[in-house]
């Protein structure tokens, strides 16, 4: 009896499954054969009524039936699901993605970051100092005599007679040396102020990076080596450079470092005022008077210092011809970088 029912169920399923066209029909078959109250379950229920002798054989047949049916069912189901996906759920992959906005640092910050990372690699610490400074830290301690034309090199915004908006990052050198004993090796980035008419070439607020290294045997030759290494990393390895004598009250000997003009490659153009060279920084070995002002022994220690303008550096690197764009904060500019 049961034997016959098994073979009927088998042939019934085999013929019905061939007629299945969609998932709904397949579900009907599942309910009919494989659900808890389906045909195969019922046949298993009937197994308890058969004789002891027949039980193992019929049980085995039933298991084979259930496995066969399940297997066939699953393979048809997989086929149907795949083809259903193809026809009904195929998305238009050309639709635009939904973007997320990533903000950005100001171009000056990005330029500064690059400078910082190069000097970090050269073993420099990074220090900071205030913008509202004392006249002494900004000038006096840096060997600018009172009533001296050297002070005209930096038009100053005064707050009182003795306080001012720092005109350069060099006062951080003084703060640093007052706080730490040699050896010191640090760069000091920051914002500075000069009372200069606003134009495409100058703005009353700008940014500098100061550098200082003091130890027992620091020489001008080492200053050259360090700055050349920086310039090569920043502007490119094939760069040509020169060091030209100059004057800063807090360094002696003093120099300005020029690199070949990025635009004309040294032939001479409007940007480099037809000299073929662009000035990128000022530097020199620390003047002994500065050491005296911070109680460093100027016989025992020597050092070098340098300073560069970040705006100028960014102008050169990104080919911007008006410094004012850095402070206008036009969102179209901010989003470009």
């Amino acid at each position: 009896m049961l034997d016959k029912k098994i073979s009927e169920a088998n042939s019934g399923f085999n013929s019905e499954i061939l007629k299945v066209n969609d998932l709904k029909q397949l579900e009907d078959i599942r309910v009919k054969y494989l659900s808890r109250n389906g045909l195969i379950s019922k046949l298993f229920d009937e197994l308890k009524d058969v004789s002891k002798e027949e039980k193992p054989l019929l049980g085995k047949s039933l298991n084979i039936l259930r496995n066969d049916v399940t297997e066939k069912f699953n393979s048809i189901k997989a086929k149907l699901e795949n083809s259903a996906g193809e026809s009904e759920k195929k998305p238009d992959l050309s639709l635009p993605g939904i973007t997320k906005v990533i903000g950005s640092k100001h171009l000056l910050t990005q330029t500064l970051d690059e400078v910082k990372s190069i000097f970090k690699g050269l073993g420099f610490s990074i220090m900071e100092g205030p913008e509202l400074e004392s006249d002494y830290n900004n000038f006096g301690a840096l060997n600018f005599p009172a009533d001296h034309p050297a002070r005209d090199m930096q038009d100053t915004f005064f707050i009182t007679k003795d306080f001012l908006l720092r005109t350069h990052t060099s006062p951080v050198q003084i703060r640093l040396m007052n706080k730490y004993k040699p050896p010191v090796r640090a760069i000091m980035p920051g914002r500075v102020y000069r009372n200069e008419a606003i134009s495409a070439r100058s703005y009353c607020v700008f940014h500098q990076v100061e550098g200082l290294y003091v130890d027992r045997d620091v020489t001008f030759a080492e200053l050259k080596g360090t700055l050349v290494s920086f310039a090569r990393q920043f502007y490119g390895n094939d760069l040509k450079y020169r060091f030209r004598p100059s004057f800063f009250p807090f360094t002696e000997p003093s120099a300005e470092m020029d690199i070949t003009c990025y635009l004309c490659h040294g032939k001479g153009c409007r940007i480099c005022k037809h000299t073929g060279w662009l000035e990128i920084l000022g530097c020199g070995t620390v003047d002994p008077n500065v050491f005296d002002n911070v109680d460093y022994n100027h016989e025992e220690f020597t050092g070098y210092a340098f300073g560069m303008g970040i705006e100028r550096t960014a102008l050169l690197k990104y080919g911007i011809d008006d410094i004012r764009v850095f402070f206008e904060n036009d969102f179209r500019f901010l989003k470009q970088f």
Binding site: R191, V205, S246, F247, E252, N329, D330
Partner: protein, 803 residues
Amino acid sequence: MKVSLNWIKDYIDLKGIASKDIIDKLTMSGLEVEDAVDELERYKDFIVGYVKEKKKHSNADKLSLCTVNTGTEDLQVVCGAPNVEAGQKIVFAPIGTVIPNGGFKITKAKIRGVESFGMICSESELGLSDDHSGIMVLDEKCRVGKSIVTELGLDDAILEIAITPNRSDALSHIGVARDIAALYEKELLLPQISLKESSHKIKDFASIEVKDKLNCPRYTAKVVRNITIKESPEWLRKKLKKIGLRPINNVVDVTNLIMYEVGQPLHAFDLDRLSGNKIVVQSTDIQTKFTTLDSKERTLPEGTLMICDAGKPVAIAGVMGGENSEISNYTKNILIESAHFNPSSIRKISKLLGLSTEASFRFERTVDPNGTLYAAERAVQLIAELTGGEIVSGVLDVYPEKIKEKEVPLRFNRVKRVLGYTITNGKIISILKYLGLKVIFESEKEYRFSVPTYRPDLEREIDLIEEIARINGYDNIPTISKISISLGEKIDESYFTDQIRQYSCALGFFEMINNPMQGEKIASLTGNKIPILNPQSLDMAFLRTSLIPGALITVAKNINAGGKDLSLFEIGDIFNMNPGKNEIRSFEDFTESQNLLLVSTGKENQKTWYSEEKRADLFSLKGIVNSLLEKLSFNNVFSESYEFDNPESLFEFSFFKNYDGKTIGTGGKIKKEIIKQFDVQQDVFCFELNISLLKQIQAKSKKYLEPVKYPKSIRDLAFIFDKSVTYEQVIKFIRKSASILLKSIELFDLFEDESLGNEKKSMAFSLEFYSGERTLKEEEVEKEFNHIITSVTKNFNAALRGM
């Protein structure tokens, strides 16, 4: 300063050395040549032409049609100058020539229908003067067809040199020549003086009294009588014009020539206009009005150093002479002043008057006190030659305390220690000698030099080392290829701020940098502002007390430019006077702190085919702030407080992040009346954080926490509360009443509806329970959950909503 290379060659033999080489060497030794005009190069294509014929242009009244002979051919040239005539010798620019003034190239042109094959030039077009009234008419002697380089002697190079403030000695041709002499190791030849003095004694014609010896350490004067004032000869006029000076007469021109030759400013007084024939040098003791020779009346403060005669002031010492003693065409007798003034006194008055002259520029940088006599004698010798005057014998020279040459030691090994390479002792000594220093002591290791008084900048050993380095050339200093780095502690004070910057970017904000100087109205919106003593303009007269007002200006500018949806941040310093202070005398009187500002306005997300638009609001700002603080490991460190309608505040409503009773950050929605002042119409949300204060708080240190291995049980529930119950009250209460098994509570729904009852609202929370040590039993969670329900309903008189 403009320098003529031909003039330099009066003092040094530079035969066979190209101008370009000299220019490069000067720049590379510290006298930076900013601009150079090489006349040879500039005028090589211009030739002398002869105007054979002049006719009227048929189509233009003001133009002439000339036939110019170039020595080899006759060319038709259209000329617009009123003074062109047949028979003139003129400067002709053939096709292809570049005109110095304007830099354009001459091409074959049709002018009003007539062809023109070149140009007849004016002095202005050639850059020889600013005379553009007509063409330059040449002397008969000029040879047609020859280059104007030879015919007009245009073989000079004019250099514009930037002289650094320490190099007062280089503010003259001889000063520059001295550097060139050292660079090329050549001898410097100074003009020799031979005076033909008359038998008259100077004492009979003038006298000098110096009352302020501190500010006038030396006053030297010579007298020339019976002079005839006239135009200077061509050589002198040309020499001055080359360096951009306007010739005046044969006395003033000589004083200018000597100033540019030796660097000593001179002044010529009309001796007959000096009452009592007397010079008195004194500082004023009252405020004085005085008319300078530019015909301007100036108010001079008390203490101004003046040159006076017996009765009145006649010059502001070292700055400018007076109209009342100026040389005129009728001047017969003159007194030449050659003085040494205290640099800082000259600088003070020059700054105060806003009057910087060639004289004051030199005096404030120090002029050689021991060069006054040479300059005076050199001047009167020339003046006598050019004016036919008589040099009165003797000199008036008040110099009570002679300024001596300084002695400076130099250790040879120190040169290497500073520069990092070896220069031979012989070379070192030679360089310093060329610069005018004398050896006064010598030993194996150390020399002592006496330094001429025209080099006040050379006072110490290091000053001499710089001279050696720059003359020997910085190029010769090796560029080392290896450095040693100390392995000591490294500090990065910018690290924390950089992290804030980075996270702000990650949150979708763009960095801006605003000017910290603001106008009074803007700076007064917040804080206790600090004024700038000498502002550049009224809208930059104060320091910002907060980052908000500056950001609002930027927001307004961008909205005007079409950028209505903005997420911006700024990190910068703000400045506030401390409470109870009204003047800065020390660093204790004000506070400079580094702040972060986050601003958002307009749409945070645009509408897309996939998602709805989202406008910036207070809660998204607050969420951003919390994300930022969490990322900085300050999660749950700060308490919050809230504020509405504070008339003092910029915010309509705001939230504060507090720590230990101090506000670290404030955020909120800017009041309508404030944003209106900035012409902004849309809502603006800001959060300002004091980074300087934040840095002082210990952030939580990051520690590894093992991910929880046991399952979490999540239960949702909703209550109906009275409207007055706040989220904060509920959350705090639940946290307090629950056990440690409750790990998180999230508000996931909030709504008010009449169906809930009058003045009621519903808040729905998702609660998460788990333990780090074991799997929680169902009954345990159920018990916790029920306990929370009972306590909340009881405490807030709330009703549980069916979920």
